[in-house]
Symmetry: C2
Subunit: 486 residues, 2 copies
């Protein structure tokens, strides 16, 4: 039954990570499968988490000068086919509308897998002069990519995302924009979702179809696998040429503008679950938690209930004005007719950062017992001063979640020099491996075939370090990040 | 060119209202046609207006206990066909996905024209007991209805909207929810968009396919035609029965829950344009205006420019903390290298409520000239106290926009008793006509065939008034609202 809690214990994270993930998503009522193959239903608790990260990213996007817009769901077949690499990359995953309004369509319409093609064609008339540039647009929408194997949030046939599309008068400006997009993702991942990320450049084999290059942020999940958490692409003049967009520059020459695009999706709800969760379920950073504090009244007699209720009512009045880093405090008092233990499990599964237990003896002492979800640390706290302390307590908690993830990543990242060492490390311990690579697609593929790991990115902060490629021994300029990935 | 203003004069509203509408939408850069038949591109200025009404409605929806969720874009054919009236109503407008992932699909997927069918099927497992009710959900998404004749914002093959879907243990609770939805729409229309609305019940012929009854709010546009601005439907147990949803009630009986649904779309951007606009373009209510104030510097010499810039800089510092009824003040100083006259036209076309002209003589007197868009009222205002006055000035302006629309509707609403009088009134003067009707679909249709007008609704505030139906003379209990409509 949907409102009566966690039910039986969830699958152990240590034993079966995918089973644990699935249990958490379903039992915490984040999302559900739908009658449509590969498509998900996002339930209130999951959608509230998405809204929090979406709104935070939207603030970053607007603050950096981008405007929200909307482009059609449909991309005519002929438009999708204009950029050759692009169509080759997406065609196998496209869902096609072939009939509408009771008739066969003259031209099939793709459900957008992404919007580069239709945007490039549409903005032709808007970009006439250098004065019309840069054109900085962002879309919040749904896209469809027909995936064979799907998993709630992580890989679904339909997902929600943000896709920014920008056009610039110079290559340098476009390159700076690629960085702006990636920085927005880094900030949301690290400062909002408490997920540390490695920033870097994708290899040629892993870049976006139609891009000159792609940057990404890569995060480590609790099973030590990697998850690509956002990508930002330099499109060069590829789409502008395909759609024949030209502008009159200051030097009176007509040129193709340079483009970028960058995207961040509901996948990040999955990343937040897998980056922080533990055996009891979700561990949510306070910034993104739908409830930051849950109050659990404890009583047996009616007399005690009245006392406890009075103390909680007084506390609640003081909570109304509390403002946290992510807006007004979000809290809930759980008065359901269930045992305290049931409620503890219920809210632990849902990852609520702080739980306040208030019983008759606490009330007599003017206090409650505050329990931290992340480490179950218990502490008696005076009720009179709690409201004033909560913003700092939540900020400290947010930092603790980030630090734990950072420590976990550090403990599971190794620097290795040979394919054998990498294979053994990936197979036995998992995690991230920093290893030298000559830059060739053949060596990249050899590692993948031998280990299942891929090059997640060439990290920006990987120092110059002369070495020998782990596959063919040719010179390597720096180490790159290998890992098995979602 | 997109950034160089209104260009030639727009079509006269008095001469050609549809031409005026189209010019305003295109020249004010609200929306544009796309390469996909009937689908629109919403540009930054238009999207900002949509975001404002969307966010306000979202606050109403959350405040009344509803949670945002997401359901799939696709509705399998067999699900859409479960509720007979529903499929009959929507089938002709459906776009079908028949191929995906390189293969023909076993079952066609409809692009949702609305989500009743897939939601009813999906929530079956969530509604087991009366304790799971009410289930109050809301979706912000895109829907597709293949329309033959389209017009930007007003009728497009794809549009953005909000659709609430709720389930209740009793019919009375569902009926109250239909009212909650309609009240949210009334509040957003009247208090945010300054559009007065008539609330009422749709006739049987105009109700939602699959509903027991439908309520709507109806607004008058500047050409005196009606526009349906939001609808709220009592679904009864129709969809619950079709999907076989049952819950165990307090009396230990298994029952079908009662459902409602209600929707509000990007059509309301079109309504805002047509309810308030005039010969110079948009007239936006301050709550929804992307810019509430535009400052236009006036100078010829460099010496004057410096003086004016200093005064404006000082003013801008005082504007940073101004909070209006719709959040922090939104303003812009137009420093483009264009004439003041060009800028006045540019911002009048875009409907900015207040324009502040600041020239060297104004600066010497410590003032600026404030011009109201709605009536071009001009007034010298001291710059030192302007910031403090703006919230009230904008609130007064918001009220003035509403009052003007209310007066316009009153001046164009007539109470008439015969079909001949109604026909002449509709043909010569247009507007709303309140007339007696016996309640039969035949008489409703006779009026439509004779005049092009339809019954917009049976207004809630239409008093009991015994009369004779304007078509067949049978008894009528009260007057209903007839009008030609968008």
């Amino acid at each position: 039954m949907s409102t009566t809690g966690p039910g039986p214990t969830i699958t152990s994270q240590a034993d079966d990570f995918p089973g644990w993930y699935n249990d958490v998503v379903r039992r915490a009522e984040l999302a559900d499968y739908s009658p449509v193959r590969g498509c998900m239903i996002i339930r209130p608790y999951g959608y509230a988490i998405w809204e929090s990260m979406r709104d935070e990213l939207d603030r970053h996007i607007k603050r950096t000068g981008h405007s929200n817009v909307y482009f059609p769901l449909f991309v005519p077949k002929s438009l999708l086919e204009k950029e050759a690499e692009h169509v080759e990359g997406f065609d196998p995953q496209v869902a096609w509308v072939t009939r509408a309004g009771g008739k066969e369509l003259d031209e099939w319409l793709a459900i957008r897998p992404t919007s580069e093609a239709i945007i490039a064609d549409s903005v032709k008339d808007w970009i006439q002069s250098y004065r019309d540039l840069p054109l900085l647009m962002n879309l919040w929408n749904n896209v469809v990519r027909w995936e064979l194997r799907t998993r709630l949030f992580l890989r679904t046939a339909e997902f929600l995302w943000q896709e920014a599309h920008t056009f610039h008068a110079t290559e340098a400006e476009a390159a700076a924009e690629v960085d702006t997009g990636l920085e927005a993702y880094r900030a949301v991942a690290e400062d909002w979702l408490a997920i540390p990320v490695v920033q870097g450049r994708k290899s040629e084999g892993e870049k976006f179809p139609g891009a000159v290059y792609s940057h990404s942020i890569e995060a480590m999940m609790r099973d030590t696998k990697a998850l690509q958490a956002g990508t930002s692409h330099m499109l060069g003049q590829n789409f502008a040429k395909a759609a024949d967009i030209r502008f009159l520059d200051r030097d009176n020459e007509r040129k193709h503008p340079w483009g970028t695009s960058w995207g961040f999706s509901t996948r990040m709800v999955g990343a937040t679950i897998m980056a922080h969760g533990d055996e009891a379920g979700l561990v949510l950073p306070p910034n993104v938690a739908p409830f930051q504090v849950v109050i659990v009244p404890i009583f047996r007699s009616e007399e005690d209930r009245v006392k406890v209720a009075a103390a909680i009512e007084q506390l609640e009045a003081s909570l109304a004005d509390v403002v946290t880093a992510s807006g007004p405090l979000r809290w809930k008092t759980d008065w359901r007719e269930e045992t305290p233990g049931f409620k503890y499990n219920h809210w632990e599964l849902r990852g609520v950062p702080l739980r306040l237990e208030v019983g008759p003896r606490d009330v007599a002492a003017g206090q409650g017992v505050l329990v931290r979800r992340i480490d179950r640390h218990k502490e008696p706290v005076p009720l009179a001063s709690l409201a004033a302390e909560l913003p700092e307590r939540l900020a400290t908690y947010q930092q603790a979640v980030f630090q734990r993830a950072l420590d976990f990543r550090a403990a599971n990242t190794r620097s290795l020099d040979t394919l054998d060492a990498l294979r053994e490390s990936i197979e036995v311990e998992g995690g991230f491996v920093m290893a030298p690579w000559c830059g060739s697609p053949e060596c990249e593929q050899a590692v993948n075939e031998a280990t299942g790991a891929t090059i997640r990115c060439i990290p920006f902060d990987s120092p110059d370090e002369a070495g020998r490629c782990l596959v063919d021994g040719r010179p390597s300029e720096r180490r790159v990040l290998f890992a098995r990935a979602y």
